[in-house]
Each structure stands twice: as C-alpha cells, then as structure tokens.
C-alpha cells in the first residue's frame, strides 16, 4: 500500500519546503537550518530507494550514513562561520553580504 512513490513524494515535499525556506530567509542561520532540512529530505529519498529497489546491497543506506556525517560536519562549520560573522557585522541582514557583487 505504501509504495516507493509515497516516500518519494514526501521527500520532494520536504525538499521543496526546504528550498523555499532557504530562498526566503533573511537570517543566515535560518538558511543553514533549512539546508539541513533539504539534506534530510535527500536522505529520505535515498533510504526509500535503498529499501525498495535494492535492499540486499544497501547502497542507499550507506550513502545516507555518509551523508549524515558530511551534513554534520558542514553544519558545524557553517555555524562557526556564522558565529564569526556575527562578531564583525550584522549577520541577520544576509542581503548585506555582497562581496561577490559583480
């Protein structure tokens, strides 16, 4: 009854919501947290594929494990950056960080 599609759709929905949050957040911290959400959605997709398509090999699951590790590392670093930025400028106005303006 609950097929692969359900999980995939759920993952897509979470992904879309995460994208929306990343694009519209004014605070950099919120953007980082939304990125976590996106990553989780991806994890869900991978896990679903692993379970439904090739459960014996468990490729997807391993992928998810490593992805979790990387996500954790990335979050740590991102938060460190944000903390550091917060000391020198107003992090909240993410639109004011415009060094890359061409």
């Amino acid at each position: 009854m609950i097929g692969l599609n359900h999980y995939l759709l759920l993952g897509a929905a979470l992904f879309a919501i995460g994208i929306f949050g990343a694009l519209t957040s004014k605070s950099a911290l919120r953007v980082v947290i939304c990125v976590e959400l996106i990553l989780n959605a991806v994890n869900l997709n991978l896990a679903a594929f692993s379970a439904y398509v090739a459960p014996k090999q468990a490729v997807g699951m391993n992928f998810v494990i490593f992805l979790m590790v990387v996500a954790a590392a990335e979050v740590g670093l991102a938060l460190a950056i944000i903390i550091s930025l917060n000391r020198t400028s107003d992090v909240g106005a993410i639109g004011s960080i415009r060094r890359l303006r061409g």
């Binding site: 992904f15 879309a16 957040s25 896990a47 699951m61 391993n62 909240g92 106005a93």
Partner: protein
C-alpha cells in the same frame, strides 16, 4: 495497514515541522519544529526497516545537530530574532519556484516505472560487514573530514584574544644579550 497509518502520521509530523520552521517568527521556535521533523524522519526510517539508520538519525540529527544549532543560536545574539521578511525582493518567485519544483518531481516520480521489490530489512551485522569491507575507505575519509571540520570550526569561531589558548606566551628575547655573552666570554678568556 499499520504501516500506512504510521506513515501518514510520521509524514504529517514531518511536514508540519518543516512548515513550522519556515513560517516561524522566532528562530528558536523554528528549530524546535525542525526537531520534530527530524524525529519523525527517524520513525520513517524505522518503517523502511532501517533500524540503524533510524538510531543514527535520532543521535546525530535529533541530538547533536539540534543542540549545536541551538548553541549557535544562543551565541549569535539578538539578530536571530527577526521578522519573517525575506532579503530577496521578489518573495512570490521562490514560492512559485518551490511549487513548480515539487510538481515537477511529483510528475516524474508518478510517471516513472520503478523496479520495486518488497522491503527487506537488514540486520546490523550485515550493515557493519558492508560498511567495513566494501565502504571502508569512505568511512575513514568521513572520519577524517569530521576531524577537519572540527578543527576548522574551532579556528573559524575563535576570538583574537584567545591566542594564548593555543600557544604558550613566550618572553621577547633580549636583542643585545647574545653579544654581551660573547664579550663576557672573551673577557673571561683573556
């Protein structure tokens, strides 16, 4: 049947938590919503038959990352409390884009023919075997990257007045001393 109910239950919590994160006025509330989503995701993993993964999810995301984010939030200061006004000028555009994205993926998913097999749970021993035999290299690298991230985070986040934490403060050597020693030696030698 049970799976269906549980699935929809967890799914609802996940989506509600995500929406809560996006629409929360205060970031702390949003983080807590996310926490709910993360827990629900763990439940979903269980439904898929991946106990190890579910446990990892709860530990890593639900425990470490959420706490980490809250720490950062606390250390960031008052600007984390912000009005839910986007920095992007065109707010309707991201909504449309996200919606279109969802619809596009949904269409793709619905139309695709998956080679579906019945779900089959793997026990932890099997996971460990695979992890340490086939994927041992990525495993080691993952550990290495964690270490680097840790050090990097520390370096990035430290303050300038914390220099002494890393090095021992050393006294400045007297610039004239080496010469004086020489001359004393010479005099002593005569």
């Amino acid at each position: 049947m049970t799976t269906a109910i549980l699935f929809y239950f967890y799914a609802a919590i996940a989506i509600a938590g995500a929406l809560g994160l996006v629409s929360a006025t205060k970031l702390l509330h949003g983080v807590l919503s996310l926490f709910a989503t993360l827990i629900a995701m763990g439940g979903l993993y269980l439904l898929l038959g991946m106990e190890f993964l579910a446990a990892m999810q709860l530990f890593v995301y639900g425990g470490a990352i959420t706490i980490l984010v809250m720490f950062a939030l606390m250390l960031s200061g008052p600007e984390a409390e912000e009005v839910h006004v986007t920095g992007v000028r065109l707010r309707w555009l991201p909504s449309i884009i996200s919606a279109v994205l969802f619809v596009a993926i949904a269409l793709v998913v619905w139309q695709a023919k998956w080679d579906v097999v019945a779900p089959h749970a793997l026990d932890t021993q099997a996971i460990a075997t695979i992890l340490f035999s086939r994927y041992v290299l990525p495993f080691e690298i993952a550990g290495l990257s964690l270490t680097i991230a840790l050090i990097g985070a520390v370096v990035i986040a430290r303050q300038d007045d914390m220099v002494g934490v890393v090095y021992e403060t050393a006294a400045e050597p007297d610039p004239e001393e080496p010469y004086r020693h020489h001359s004393e030696d010479e005099e002593a030698a005569k």
